[in-house]
């Protein structure tokens, strides 16, 4: 789960990291009022769950409250990489001497957390990683002992900091890692972390992603979820134990298993179609689940055909077929349905479906091709 900058900043600050305090505005009026309260130059920043806000024009400096209002007017409602801006953060301007990047994330290959730092702050780190990888300092974190003080200091020295700036920097590294662990994050990031003209450390931005699997122990974080930023259908699906991701195509997919669901999308594409979604109906594939899945898929007005792809494993094919039949009794599906059913008791299942007026194939390729055709014909 992603958090907004202002939420992450609040959490960082709770863990002892000095952040650039600001306030959230949802209207230009509010932005102007906040800017007036703060006094002086302010920064108006789009709050969206995506990077690259700066490049997209979602971050603006404003020298007066009126300018802050204008900036907010421009930014609010903006579409940044598919995210509509509904909130802006209005924060005091800062006298920046140097900018750095500092982040903690998981190094999947090493199965260890890693501290990443760079003297190239304020730039997208992926860009630095791609173009000047030698400019990124990486320090693996001991899985048992956490970040050692010497490691935090060493990163500082490698960044070329002056000796009198080391202990302040090391403290931020430690706290950013502590935040990462305490909050079950998969990313905590400050970009840029700045040294101000007065020689103080300040987190000018804050980014944080929480491990979905660990949300059960962080009800406070779950409460920070921005429902505007997340697809309502996806959330709804999650509550039913269904993995659902909305895509742009017109062929709705209902599949059991995440890997098979991806492969099914790929098959649709391979046969000239475009999948409307990723959908893993989960283990059981009961009538309830399948009905729910139909509901999710048909809620998308773009969908012109539905491809059901089930490989019966522990869950028997006849049970799944029964589920499909029952679900179709309950949900009114207006678009053509193509079913592929293989594996355990698949034959019985296909028979059962035939009795309910649904022909089922045994081949995933065939089913994908049929679904593409059906969508075109519809």
């Amino acid at each position: 789960m992603n958090l907004h900058e202002y939420q992450a900043a609040e959490i960082f600050s709770r863990h002892g990291i000095r952040t650039n305090a600001g306030k959230i505005a949802t209207t230009p009026d509010e932005a102007e009022a906040i800017a007036r309260d703060l006094g002086g130059i302010v920064v108006v920043k789009a709050q969206v769950h995506t990077g690259g806000r700066g490049k997209a024009g979602g971050v603006k400096l404003a020298r007066t409250p009126e300018a802050a209002r204008e900036a907010a007017e421009t930014i609010l409602g903006m579409d940044i990489r598919g995210h509509i801006v509904r909130k802006v953060l209005v924060a005091p301007g800062v006298d920046i001497a140097r900018e750095f990047y500092l982040g903690v994330t998981l190094d999947r290959a090493r199965r260890q957390n890693v501290i990443m730092a760079s003297a190239e702050g304020g730039v997208e780190i992926e860009e630095v990683a791609r173009e000047r990888p030698e400019r990124i300092i990486r320090a693996l974190v001991d899985p048992m002992l956490g970040v050692h003080p010497w490691q935090a200091r060493q990163i500082g020295f490698e960044l070329g900091l002056d000796p009198d700036k080391i202990s302040g920097f090391a403290a931020i590294v430690q706290r950013l890692y502590d935040t990462y662990i305490a909050e079950d994050a998969t990313l905590t990031e400050i970009n840029p972390l700045v040294l101000t003209g007065a020689g103080e450390w300040l987190a000018l931005d804050a980014k944080m992603t929480i491990d979905d699997n660990a949300l059960f122990r962080h009800p406070d974080l779950e409460a920070m979820r921005d429902l505007d930023e997340e697809n309502a259908t996806e959330l709804d699906a999650r509550h039913s134990g269904i993995s659902f991701v909305k895509l742009e195509g017109d062929i709705g997919c209902i599949v059991n298993g995440a890997g098979l669901a991806m492969a099914t999308m790929d098959a649709v594409k391979l046969h000239g179609g475009e999948p409307a979604n990723f959908l893993d109906v989960g283990g059981g594939a009961s009538a309830d689940q399948v009905a729910k899945a139909f509901g999710l898929v048909t809620a998308d007005p773009n969908v012109r055909a539905i491809l059901i792809n089930i490989f019966g494993g522990i869950t028997r094919g006849d049970i799944v077929a029964q589920g499909i039949a029952e679900a179709l009794d309950r949900v009114n599906v207006q678009v053509p349905i193509v079913v592929r059913l293989s594996g355990t008791n698949a034959e019985e299942g296909r028979k059962l479906l035939a009795e309910n007026g649904l022909a089922a194939t045994t081949s995933m390729d065939e089913a994908a091709a049929q679904a593409v055709q059906a969508a075109r014909a519809a």
Binding site: T50, L106, R108, A109, R111, Q112, N113, I125, E126, A129, P143, M144, I181, D184, T186, D211, D212, N213, A214, F216, R217, S243, V245, L247, V255, N256, G257, A258, G259, L260, A261, M262, A263, M265, D266, A267, V268, K269, L270, P275, F278, D280, F311, G312, G313, I314, S342, G343, T344, S363, M364, D365
Partner: protein, 290 residues
């Protein structure tokens, strides 16, 4: 031969009296797996599908000397089950449990390594050596003994491929599901190394998906260490960036972990990468007859 499990494997089931644990224990026993014991705290004296239940792994170890453990306990307790297994010297632990927080798996993985044990999973279907032992939740009947090693990050997609192989008359030496989480105990590389060393395995099918860089690392390993033919398939070519595709680990982040990158890396390493699961048997036949 085969890798990791065979008819001599002595299997312990942790969480044996739970719904999942008892169901799959019965399934495994029916397949012929040698389930020697189960553990459920407070379950001592019970029995599931003929296997005696103990309160602790220590007891089960003392009484029945298992050398493989399979874990069916819920996510909040699964890391403790892993620690209990390896601290009691179970050399190979298969964790089926889905939904374990990454923060719990990072130290657990490190600890398993330190203890010198091997962990498969979590969030995996387990593994099967057809005709000998099924230590997992896959449908046993689709498998048949033979010369092809299968390794995969996915569950049903693996069944799909295995079923296709079996229907094409091609059996499997062992089929291993390594799991879909960001932190897993056994990687592609580990399994590829085992298949390479296994005299009965003549060709390998590797099924990857988006997210992480295990496939890229596997490609490098294949180039350097694998002489047997490898057929690859990568799921998720149409997956959008930044979205978790079911598996916690199946996500393209920061523009890396795409299917295209993985396919390119594998192809560069000499792997025959196919564009659909149904193409696997044909590619394997080509490889075996070359």
């Amino acid at each position: 031969m085969s890798i990791l499990v065979d008819r001599d494997s002595r299997v312990l089931v942790q969480g044996i009296t739970g719904r999942e644990g008892s169901f799959h224990t019965t399934q495994m026993v029916e397949y012929g797996t040698n389930i020697v014991a189960g553990v459920t705290p407070g379950g001592r004296g019970k029995s599931v599908a003929g296997a005696p239940v103990f309160d602790t792994v220590a007891e089960a170890m003392a009484e029945t000397q298992p050398n493989v453990s399979i874990i069916f306990v819920p996510a909040r307790f699964a890391p403790d089950a892993i620690y209990e297994a390896v601290d009691n010297d179970v050399p190979f632990v298969v964790c089926i449990t889905e939904g374990i927080p990454v923060a719990d798996m990072v130290p657990a993985y490190a600890h398993v390594r330190q203890r010198g044990s091997r962990l498969l999973g979590p969030n995996c279907p387990g593994l099967i050596t057809p005709g000998q032992a099924k230590v997992g939740i896959m449908p046993g009947f689709i498998h048949t003994p033979g010369p092809v090693g299968v390794v995969s990050r996915s569950g049903t997609l693996t069944y799909e491929v295995v079923d296709a192989l079996t229907r094409a008359g091609i059996g499997q030496s062992t089929a291993v599901g390594i799991g879909g989480d960001p932190v897993i105990g056994t990687s592609f590389i580990d399994v590829l190394g085992l298949f390479e060393a296994d005299p009965e395995t003549e060709a390998i099918v590797m099924i990857g998906e988006i997210g992480g860089s295990d496939e890229e690392l596997a490609a490098q390993f294949i180039q350097e260490h694998v002489t047997k033919p490898v057929v690859g398939f990568i799921a998720g070519r149409t997956a959008p960036p930044g979205k978790r595709m079911g598996h916690a680990g199946a996500i393209i982040s920061g523009g890396s972990g795409t299917a295209a990158e993985k396919m390119a890396a594998l192809e560069a390493a000499g792997v025959r990468v196919v564009d659909r699961p149904s193409a696997v048997p044909g590619a394997i036949k080509d490889a075996l007859h070359r």
